[in-house]
Point group: C2
Chain length 354, copies 2
Amino acid sequence: MTARRRGKAPSQADVARLAGVSQSAVSRVISGNAATARIPEETRQRVFEAVRELGYVANPAARAMRKQRNNLLGVHTFERVFPHAHEDFYFAFLLGIEERAEETGFDLVLFTSTGSGGSAGQGGTRGERKIYKDGTNRLNLADGSILLGVSTDRGELARLWYEGYPFVHIGRREVPGAEIPQIIPDYRTASARIVERLSELGHRRLGYVREWMEMEPYEDRRTGYAEAVGRLGLTDTSPGFHGTHGIESAWLDEVARGAVTAVVVESVRLAESLREQLAARGRKIPDDVSVAVLEAAPADLSGQWDSLVIPRTEIGRIAVDRLQTMLDDPDQRTGSLFVPCPLIPGTTVTEVRE
Amino acid sequence: MTARRRGKAPSQADVARLAGVSQSAVSRVISGNAATARIPEETRQRVFEAVRELGYVANPAARAMRKQRNNLLGVHTFERVFPHAHEDFYFAFLLGIEERAEETGFDLVLFTSTGSGGSAGQGGTRGERKIYKDGTNRLNLADGSILLGVSTDRGELARLWYEGYPFVHIGRREVPGAEIPQIIPDYRTASARIVERLSELGHRRLGYVREWMEMEPYEDRRTGYAEAVGRLGLTDTSPGFHGTHGIESAWLDEVARGAVTAVVVESVRLAESLREQLAARGRKIPDDVSVAVLEAAPADLSGQWDSLVIPRTEIGRIAVDRLQTMLDDPDQRTGSLFVPCPLIPGTTVTEVRE
DNA sequence: CATCAGCGCTCATACGTATGAGCACCTCCT
DNA sequence: AGGAGGTGCTCATACGTATGAGCGCTGATG
């Protein structure tokens, strides 16, 4: 048995010829719902027979063109997926997306092609991936897409939105004039809850250490923190709270002197640094200062710092579901979802001791 | 600016109307090569103007139907991708595939849908993914596909091959009557080289411990090992060499007595077990017995055992390239590629000491 | 015996793009 | 002046599927 030549896959017309019916009859048998198509069992059998005989398989491109559905969900990341996956950055999101896509019978397109095109090029632009390459919008291939990535190009997002393409963005990203549906880890509430907990443990004078980035996710953390500090009547005079990023040594001296009993830090990286510099001043965490972190470490690194955790897998699943509702009902094009971030206990926060 | 209603994306016809030319002119301007299409600059500009005005983007489905290319590469795994990725099973392959796909301007489709279909089902068959669901072959959506997975369904492979669908299988997998292009880690040569090295180090009496699986990859290791043992006139009377899997304690006693100076083991798992059982008999690796392993541990676990390493990322890249040549020239439908597996030195093989 | 409903299909068309063939016009050469 | 050859397009069609409209037939009903 030698393989059939490629390029002449049998069509419904071929099947029809063999079964002695019309192409449309074949179409109805194969994919038409039995209700509208009044085709008796005997004919159906003949058609299926012919299908098997010829090894007919539907052409998805044609089908996609005719219906407006492809059963394809796109995933666009603005940077490479897998390298980051290795660092657990995208990985857990993809896990959830894949799970849910499988459960709902969708396939996944990973948009990996860069804007630079070129068939034999030696690698595209290393950093960024564009949605629009020359005139064409690759995402269109999928019924809808999930977008993720830190360096999101807001212009492209705006255009995509304006064109009415169904998509969901993981993470908050404001684009003026476009109400993009987003799946947003609720950093704000989580940050506030961390402050509440510190307050319950007796801490009244806090400090805040911020990252250098100014993206929405950090804004949310800062908003939640500030709001809770205000509401609970706590004190924060740290430079981080008022706009400076990183750790100032003058302020550290104050902390060492006991001016502050708890510090909230935006990242593990900074928290580690804080620990070192406090140690250099003879202060220990949590004995002298409690520290909480506003970033989920990958699962295996956790258990150390008290922190919030980003439920990435769940967010992936939610993104798929949100997208599906958009597809089912085009009126649902707008509206974001907040996903609560649980706090995980560590060993760096204790009751205040004075 | 409110978003355009979904469902009526502008077509080339719309652009043509606006630019005052025919649809075919638009097509030629946009995608026709300039050589055959004799369209002056002025007209081109008018068309591009209209394109921008309307926000036209090409419809990939229609394009795919007309040409026979999609610029889509499929990846089908017979089990879930990402969970395994986490265990570094598929991960490195995907890394290479994605890299190379990006470099050559292709997008990736991950075929995640199970055979069980169903739009709202509560998850398909947990284990296996089928290629053919009811009558349709999802893979057809992509120009060609890369298949991988341990529980490959040979029947589906045969059918796919027979239909002339372009695909590549990662790992050796024999299917009677179908010469499936495969990217094969050259376990055979690598195993032989390990034996050669042991021989160079003075080992003449070897032992072999086999896994319970009977798949091609293990066959290759066994063949390479046996061939080298024969060629170099070495001795192996171990049960593993003659068909038994696992570790027999009677044989272990012999090893402990010094009947064997080096053992080749099919997996780290078994090697660990071997170490324990030798330790129980007062024998140490490598002081009393040298041990080499025929399986690459994930990069971070390595450095311990002397073993061969599977160049997974490279294999992924090669698979993409192999597929591309098939697509460019349908006559290249057959022919597999062997990829050499380097040996990495560890601390478990030394010169023989007697 | 005329009417009518249902059955089992077929016909025709649309989806959006790409492309071979060809048409009308112009320029240049003999 | 008449033809050759080039330019700047248009026409028509094909790709494979899905679907609304409709046609001829049969059997039942009035």
